[in-house]
Amino acid sequence: MYNDKVIDHFSNPRNAGEMPDADAVGESGSFKCGDTMKIFLKINGGKIADIKFQTFGCGAAIASSSILTEMVMGKSLEEAVRITNRDVADELGGLPPLKLHCSNLAADALHDAIQKYRAAQRKDKGKALAP
């Protein structure tokens, strides 16, 4: 059902785990099967300096999160937000049709993290400007 690349990322996931001092944490959940995912970001000079993930989900969900972390590591936030779930699935060499929604989880969690980071930044800036 899964190709070798998916199995590789599933068995040796890159950047799995928590990040206690993350600058932003994004979450996503699947309405379809009830699974959840978290992405932790460390951001430095507008670039993703470090990234970690946690997933409660199937093999495709774990592999998607793992490959996503590789795809965005070191990228600027502008580049990272442009990554779609399609890109994640393609990078894995394809997923079974029923499992495409699992790659959404990964991209959604990343976008959520970036959005939260930017919102927090705007708030900080607002504070700094206030008299």
């Binding site: 899964y2 199995i7 599933f10 068995s11 996931p13 799995a16 785990g17 928590e18 979450e27 379809k32 099967c33 009830g34 699974d35 959840t36 995912m37 978290k38 993930f53 946690q54 997933t55 409660f56 989900g57 199937c58 093999g59 969900a61 774990i62 029923l98 699992c102």
Partner: protein
């Protein structure tokens, strides 16, 4: 421990046993006659089918005329339930349970669309159908009760004998899907008080695509399929002679070996359950004692079943899960949900179903590979309190 291949998915299907294959071989090659033909090749095949029917009847405590060969468990269930309903011409009430296989549940749902009244009985947290609820559901229009002998996912053994007695008194028909029970438990149609019983060969080391339906003498059913006169018109179509012979041989042997097999599987099952329950946050699904000898079903909190199955497969272990992610429909197991499990526990469920070939070494191997897998997946889990 040295790595090995361990098949613990006998609830899905079992390997064909050597003796059954041997019995089948002549009918796949030299003895290719059609049992309906007049010539000697036909008569040879007819004789094989007749002998097989006798063997199956003997194994179930039935008469040969009460046994009909079909294309498997799904087909037997459809023929029995639809066949009994057809005689009611769209009116009447039937009762089933929430934990039936889809080959019963979806047939009942279809009949509901056709105008029948259908009651789907709930089960308790162990997966047992409550007799009180059944009695309350009975009405003047009730004509059929279909409850499985033992559940395929959690192994709970239902009180069919009592249900049968209760229904017989009231003149209500009883069908039981005994696909999982036959070959693991003693199955006697008289003791069970049933009118219809479904079995499928590939669950007791027979071939796939062949099953049987017991229909009690004197009970009328309207055929679902139309065609020739085979199986007294209840299942028309040229007989799968080799399959029928293989089914009968496998069943005959399974019944003869039943006492030893039950002891062996029960020992392995209890060793496996005890070992699994030593892991943190693991719960047993199903009944502690009213359980198929070969069934183990547990939930690992905080992890998802498909990733567990993939990890086990990478270690050579074949198993199954009630997780939404493995279901094709992306819904968690209807059986576990009916037993009141929450989404997360259904998600983290693992079924290990034991069979003839399994050994103590297999059990110990599985018990040695599971804890590190569970630990690894929990460390990665977004739900685990790290």
């Amino acid at each position: 421990m040295e790595s090995r291949q361990v098949y613990m998915d006998h609830g899905a299907t079992t390997p064909l046993r050597e003796e059954a294959l041997e019995a089948m071989m002549p009918y796949l090659q030299d003895k290719y006659g059609n049992p309906s033909s007049i010539h000697s090749a036909g008569r040879e095949a007819r004789k094989a089918v007749d002998e097989a029917r006798e063997k199956v009847a003997r194994a179930l405590g039935a008469e040969p005329a009460e046994i009909f060969f079909t294309g498997g468990g799904t087909e037997s269930n459809n023929i029995a339930i639809r066949g009994a309903a057809r005689l009611k011409k769209g009116r009447g009430h039937l009762i089933t349970s929430a934990i039936e296989h889809h080959a019963v549940l979806d047939v009942c749902k279809d009949l509901e669309q056709d105008g029948f009244k259908v009651t789907v009985l709930p089960v308790d947290s162990h997966g047992l159908v409550e007799l009180r609820a059944l009695e309350q559901a009975l009405g003047p229009e009730t004509f059929l009760i279909s409850i499985m002998t033992a559940n395929n996912e959690v192994g709970t053994v239902e009180p069919i004998g009592e249900i049968g007695a209760l229904a017989r008194e009231r003149g209500i028909l009883v069908h039981t899907d005994a696909v999982q029970a036959v070959g693991q438990l003693p199955v006697d149609v008289k003791k069970l008080n049933v009118d219809f019983l479904t079995l499928s060969a590939h669950k007791f080391n027979g071939p796939k695509g062949i099953g049987a339906l017991y229909v009690r003498k004197g009970i009328a059913v309207s055929p679902v399929f139309r065609g020739g006169g085979q199986e007294r018109k209840l299942r028309p179509g040229t007989e799968n002679v080799a399959g029928i012979v293989g089914l009968a041989r496998a069943l005959e042997l399974a019944v003869a070996e039943l006492p030893q097999k039950t002891d062996h599987l029960t020992q392995l099952r209890d060793r496996l359950i005890a070992g699994l329950l030593r892991i943190d946050d693991v719960t047993l699904n199903g009944h502690p004692t009213l359980r198929l000898p070969g069934n183990v079903n547990v939930s690992f909190n905080y992890i998802e079943g498909e990733s567990l199955l993939l990890s086990l497969d990478l270690q050579g272990v074949a198993a199954s899960s009630g997780s939404a992610c493995t279901s094709g429909s992306l819904d968690p197991s209807h059986v576990l949900m009916a037993m009141g499990l929450d989404h997360q526990h259904a998600h983290g469920s693992l079924r290990l179903s034991l069979g003839r070939g399994n050994t103590v070494e297999d059990v110990d191997y599985v018990l040695s590979v599971i804890p590190p897998i569970v630990q690894r997946l929990r460390k990665m889990s977004a739900l685990y309190p790290q």
